[in-house]
């Protein structure tokens, strides 16, 4: 690991100001992704601001019936929270499908949103990667791309967004609450939070220099039947090849979001609108514009089959 200096945050705004004015500064919360990448010298911060003292670990109801989740709420606690279990079951399920018990005990809500891709070319510092080293090229385009994204990709990057939690957050129309270096608070709809790679795959979110996530807010519960189906190479402790988050509501008012296939958590209005026409129609709508390699072409069929399975399960329960 490259040497760095270390300080503890005293307030969100102070942390944001310090991060914006300190070259090479990064926030650390759970650290499960950042420290992994620092050991590989993929991330090389020169200063770490430990945000754990900010105690942003509360889960509380909002005035309009939603739920505000502190940035530092651990994945285990969020998944086990009574309100989340009952009213936002898809979020519990998504969280529980990710990582291991040890990692979920440490990983935070905000950190999960900011985790980096697991594309093997991002991790292998001997290989080109536009996300890790802008302008160096993409090793994945002609390489091993079985796990990688088929939606939202570009000529510069086909890395997939690795999160399960963020897929459920996208499904639930969460907003990401932040404080900037100037002290200004803002709320960013999660649909706008992650950026597609385009020509600048190293820029992954709309966060400005120093801007810090303080909480993630869910709108009031939407009811319905919540499911999260993750398809992967092992039955536990593996990233998704394809995952589908769904809420089946009354009168075909259903919604779908997808993991493992997008450069960001993937959801389209067309797929939601196709809910009444069945799994094949939803898959077709969700996969519009998909760009596959010969290694990951199978994901299109896998999306349709996963949706078919969810529809059958729903019908069996009805």
């Amino acid at each position: 690991m490259k040497p760095f200096t270390y300080s503890r945050a005293t307030s969100a705004q102070e942390a944001a100001t310090m991060a914006a004015s300190t070259q090479g500064a990064r926030f650390i919360a759970g650290g499960t992704n950042l420290l992994d990448l620092m050991k590989l010298q993929i991330e090389t911060p020169t200063h770490l601001i430990d945000v754990n003292p900010l105690k942003l670990d509360q889960i509380e109801k909002t005035a309009d019936g939603g739920l505000r989740i502190g940035a530092l709420v651990r994945n285990t606690d969020l998944a086990a929270d009574k309100v989340v279990r009952h009213d936002y079951g898809v979020l519990s399920r998504a969280l529980l499908s990710g990582a291991s018990g040890q990692l979920r005990n440490k990983a935070t809500t905000a950190g999960n949103l900011l985790q980096r891709t697991r594309c093997p070319y991002f991790y292998d510092t001997r290989m080109p990667c536009n996300k890790r080293k802008p302008g160096s090229g993409c090793g994945a385009l002609q390489g091993m791309s079985r796990n990688l994204a088929i939606l939202g990709v570009s000529d510069a990057c086909i890395a997939q967004h690795p999160s399960d939690m963020a897929v459920a957050m996208r499904l639930l129309d969460a907003t990401v609450d932040t404080v900037g270096a100037d002290g200004a608070a803002r709320s960013i709809p999660i649909a706008d939070f992650h950026l597609l790679p385009g020509d600048t795959p190293h820029v992954e979110t709309v966060l400005k220099a120093g801007e810090i996530i303080t909480s993630v807010t869910l709108p009031k519960p939407i009811g319905g039947t919540h499911v999260y189906r993750k398809v992967r190479d092992r039955s536990s402790y593996a990233f998704a090849l394809v995952s589908v988050a769904a809420v089946f509501g009354k009168n075909d008012a259903s919604r779908f979001a997808f993991g493992g296939i997008g450069a960001k958590p993937w959801r389209t209005a067309d797929a939601d609108a196709a809910a009444g026409s069945g799994a094949k129609a939803v898959a077709e709508a969700a996969l519009a514009g998909a760009r596959t390699t010969h290694h990951n072409e199978f994901k299109k069929k896998l999306v349709e089959q996963t949706l078919t399975s969810l529809y059958r399960q729903k019908e069996a329960r009805a």
Partner: protein
């Protein structure tokens, strides 16, 4: 160097650490508690699992300075050769290891897993998120962050079941 106070296995320790020092390296290299093992050093194998403030974590993926003032339990703190923790004894009884390298992490994880089930924390295989039962499927899922290269898994599950059953009786 940064001063760090840790309570490790009930004993207060005062260290001066480079901020890069992982909790794992602080335990092994500075406190000479070598029971906690370094396997992958990337949070993939679980050999470094310790219990911090009552929760199991990968000690390789956290900095010691981030745990100033906190209480840590390692395999050495669970029991001693003369006075084994029930989980340690069960691993011996059921032959829950071959080479033993992953074992301290497996045991720390297993102790915490039973507490998580007791606390009603659901898992990926929990059918009804409000009803957490102690089943082999639950144990396998919850222990998936601890890899055993010798594949002693069936015996590890038997050992955990033994302790869980004993606790209930």
């Amino acid at each position: 160097m940064i001063p760090v106070e840790l309570t490790v296995n009930g004993r207060e320790t005062h260290l001066q650490l480079d901020p890069r020092t992982s909790l794992l390296d602080a335990l092994r290299e500075h406190l000479h508690l070598t029971g906690t093992k370094k396997g992958c050093d990337h949070g993939q194998c679980g050999a470094c699992t310790v219990i911090v403030e009552g929760r199991r974590i990968n000690s390789c993926l956290t900095l010691a300075v981030m745990h100033d003032g906190e209480a840590i339990t390692t395999i050495e703190g669970l029991g001693t050769p003369d006075k084994l923790h029930p989980m340690q004894r069960a691993f011996i009884t059921h032959d829950g290891y071959q080479c033993g390298y992953c074992t301290p992490g497996q045991i720390c994880s297993a102790v915490a897993v039973l507490e998580e089930i007791e606390a009603g924390i659901p898992s990926h295989v929990t059918d009804d998120l409000d009803k957490v039962a102690l089943t082999d499927a639950e144990l396998r899922e919850r222990m998936s962050g601890n890899i055993c290269r010798c594949a002693a898994y069936p015996n590890i599950i038997a050992a955990i079941n033994d302790v869980a059953g004993g606790a209930k009786a």
